[in-house]
Assembly symmetry: C3
Homo-oligomer: 135 residues x 3
């Protein structure tokens, strides 16, 4: 397993982590197969989306805030961050990504993002080898 | 593959299944790699979220009902449970979980939940070995 | 890796692809384990849901459009398809499916769907072997 840290600096944020995941693929020695990118947190997530235009991530975060508002008087969880927990389950705390020839095999416009839903915080991302032909 | 049953007793419910999944990991003999937790149903799901405070699950279910109301006059599906099908696709019917040293490698606050969206029913959860170094 | 094309003919569409994924499982020679179904696009997704009654997919698409409207004056992304990107992250661009005895091990009512959120377009679906006992 290979782990790296991500420091968010906003309450909700999409942070591109494709280079860090690619470095983990190399460190794990995966050549063909897949890796599991896992976030060991319950108010964060991992997603794959368009990486070329940062406006996409901004629109996504704003639309998500509108859909799942931070405050809800009916919430019972003490910490007041149930919205972040809900978003985490809607996006998912992990993603399985294909690897071909030692490289992440993503589409032209795809990038991997760490999703912060209750920041700013220091977070961790873990990458696990799921399969390697040589394994 | 290892299978276990879950009996929901409410219309919508998050049922913690971490111990059952951990037992499946042991039964499958997975030591390092990952397992696929799969729900063979179309009105249920699997998620990983905070397991310490049950209020989180309660808030998540209530917010989900508000976002995806059960009744929608425009629904055409005969059984009237399109809301449950929609929730299932938003959360996802499976989750890939990391295993290290024979144990589920989850974060401190993470627990695995079976998500019932059209209960009460008797349901099944299936666990598959995805990779084992020894395999 | 095995790839096939999908041609959507509507703006939003759920296209059943279980037979194509099953053919990929055979072509890859996976007998026991799992496959990763990956869509290399950022305005599309993969989901597993009820395949018997097409009304389910229709209800799901209509409800999704109501929840995530196409037009949002606050969107900043030039292409105007931020709704499609958001839907893609909510459903997810990939799915890991179990394989037993060379066959996709899905539930009775489960089918695999390519989700088009910004069509019509010609799209690609990629299937990767994640694990094979014989591997």
């Amino acid at each position: 397993m290979h782990e790296f840290a991500v420091a968010s600096d906003a309450h909700a944020q999409l942070i591109p982590i494709t280079p860090e995941v690619q470095a983990a693929v190399a460190a794990l020695g995966v050549t063909d197969g897949a890796v599991l990118v896992h976030v060991p947190h319950t108010t964060a997530a991992v997603t794959v989306n368009e990486g070329a235009d940062p406006d996409v991530a901004a629109d996504l975060l704003r639309r998500f805030d509108a859909l799942v508002p931070w405050r809800d008087p009916a919430d019972s969880h003490d910490e007041g961050n149930s919205a972040a927990h809900f978003k985490s389950s809607l996006v998912g705390c992990s993603s399985v990504l294909p690897v071909v020839g030692g490289k992440l095999a993503l589409g032209t416009w795809q990038a991997v993002f760490f999703c912060e839903f209750d920041g700013p915080r220091r977070r961790r991302v873990q990458v696990f080898a799921v399969r390697d032909k040589a394994g």
